[in-house]
Symmetry: C2
Subunit: 186 residues, 2 copies
């Protein structure tokens, strides 16, 4: 028997997709009620602080996903090469090969960032640090590992923006291929 649709956790993915499409400021409660099928009463029951709390919940959900699937393995995995490769694979899937944009990236620009600055900062900071640790284990020096990690995380973000601007997912997959090559000692 399928779980009841009306749980807080079931609403979050819908909110995430909406915020990705419209941005935070551009998403209205009436559109949220439409897409979730929930009245405002229900929404405020789940998120007493309204839109702000929905934004936080969505960022939190994304952070948890990345922490569990990507960051933790990078930090604590046994085979750094395999973990880095998996990072690229899982990231590509998560972003639907460039067709889906990064929610945190959307929140990172304009003044939405100020309302969620700690969440946004933590997402990119944690990613960069976890990748740095994995790269160090593949015998890169400390400085080089940090540079490559920054290059990769920034490169993924930029590729998402560029791919979306040109409506061309191949831009993203090409970027992933380049970035992946840079995580290998030559």
């Amino acid at each position: 028997m399928p779980r009841k649709i009306t749980e807080r956790n079931d609403v979050i993915p819908i909110l995430a997709e909406l915020f990705r499409e419209r941005g935070f400021a551009g998403t209205s409660l009436s559109e949220i009620t439409e897409r979730t099928g929930l009245g405002k009463g229900s929404l405020y029951h789940f998120f007493p602080n309204g839109k702000e709390e929905m934004g936080k919940a969505v960022l939190d959900d994304v952070a948890n996903w990345f922490e569990y699937h990507i960051f933790a393995p990078l930090r604590e995995g046994e085979d750094p090469y395999a973990d880095i490769d998996y990072m690229f694979k899982a990231t590509t899937q998560f972003f639907h090969s460039g067709r889906r944009i990064c929610l945190v990236g959307v929140f990172a620009l304009d003044d939405t960032r100020d309302r969620f600055s700690s969440e946004v900062q933590s997402y990119f900071g944690t990613w960069t640090k976890a990748l740095t640790i994995a790269l160090r284990r593949t015998d890169f020096g400390a400085a080089q590992a940090r540079e490559i990690a920054e290059d990769v995380v920034a490169g993924i973000q930029g590729a998402l923006v560029l791919a979306r601007s040109q409506d061309d997912p191949k831009i993203f997959t090409r970027a992933i291929k380049r970035l992946k090559a840079r995580t290998r000692i030559t």
Copy 2:
């Protein structure tokens, strides 16, 4: 004698900074009247189609700046090495070493892109193509020149997002240094 402040062209830079800060959907007309010191009557005199026209005007202004200062030299300059170096220098200045975010990048995400898709597409597309031409002239092969150009344009965007998310302009300047190195044949 300083030119009268109330000209359409004088309003555009103010609009640009506002859209950068708040995003398109997040910028209200009341805030625009506040920052420009112009009443709504005057604004609608300059921009009969309202906010939409302001958005187009601002994108147009940015596109013109880049075309004149960066794209045209890349395409038609005499010394491709110097032109590419100048691109990095001018870009760094334009983005205030990473403290200022990219207006077109802000417009490229969420559904704002749909309203300005041709402008957004043209900006990144023209940039990539112009840089590809310059790189070809420095004896890179066609395929490699295209890859590097894509890498650089995406890398700049990503570095802007990352630098802003961490409130750390050094992330941007480090990225520029790396990207610049990649435009040189080794």
